[in-house]
Symmetry: D3
Subunit: 70 residues, 6 copies
């Protein structure tokens, strides 16, 4: 499926932390650049996420804030 | 200001597209990896955004979807 | 690509409204039930969206508010 | 209260999963079409959510991603 | 309708800026504290928004970032 | 860092509820007006959040829904 989301960053799962209902997934997209996603446990299980697996971090442009150093 | 947002990707503005109320900002975070942010024109002006400027793309973990190739 | 997003509603594009930077897409998922998505013009063009096309509305569980009638 | 959110889908609660801080609510909007919302436990309690109750899934247009099959 | 959204701030519309598809609404919630909402033009028209009208700014807890001064 | 986010409300932490992966932070921005943020435990620890601390609630304009009483 192709997506309207403008930001699709391909990487690899480097950590998974499972809570009672929510899983935090860390995806390394380039050496030392790691993104964190907060998803449902159900989603983590459906996707069969595991450390070492290829995965993408997908973000809609309207969910990106821009910051500038003062 | 330090932020709870888990994803702060530092880069440089490579394109700005200004509409009637909304500006699209493209930030290159590593060579060839460009993120798009959709922000208000007011914000783009307040930050004084311009092509070539250093800027960060900031995303809350709960706004990241994980994708896996089939 | 399989997605962590829990809500993927398949339907058909019934209307497209293009602004200066933003396109509103209406997707009918069942008879008379129409969802609206606000996406970038760039995304609408990349996907080649047109009225009548099959398309899905995708929503992360953390972006759904629950309402109850009083 | 009337809302700016463009997507208000009326249905019935078919499942509730309560974690330490977060509750997942499944709302069936038409036969076999179930949406998942991730909300705070506090909200689930304030609304008195229970399986079988009428409830709506509310989504802002800017939180809808469009997908197209390849 | 009662909502799961934890943050409902009541105020008054103090400015409306209408673009091609998007309207920016400024709502003053206490003296000098003004919030900005970016909504569809369609929503602004449906709600009949006008300067001086009572209106609420509604935000889901998962859309709030916490910041701390350094 | 200056942010594109239009809504930065300064206040004080009045409550913290820590779950398995998610922390709920309540920030009082004016007397009796309290906002709730849902963030990762990791973020709460990184920021060293504690009751009584000064903190800001930050919200992007595109995450604000407008409501009008009927």
């Amino acid at each position: 499926m192709r997506l309207s989301a403008r930001n699709i960053l391909n990487g690899r799962v480097v950590a998974l932390t499972k809570g009672a209902t929510t899983t935090h997934v860390k995806i390394e997209i380039v050496d030392g650049m790691v993104l964190t996603a907060s998803i449902t446990n159900e989603a983590a299980e459906d996707l069969g996420l595991a450390v070492g697996m290829a995965a993408s971090a997908i973000v809609k442009a309207s969910d990106v804030i821009v910051g500038v150093e003062e």
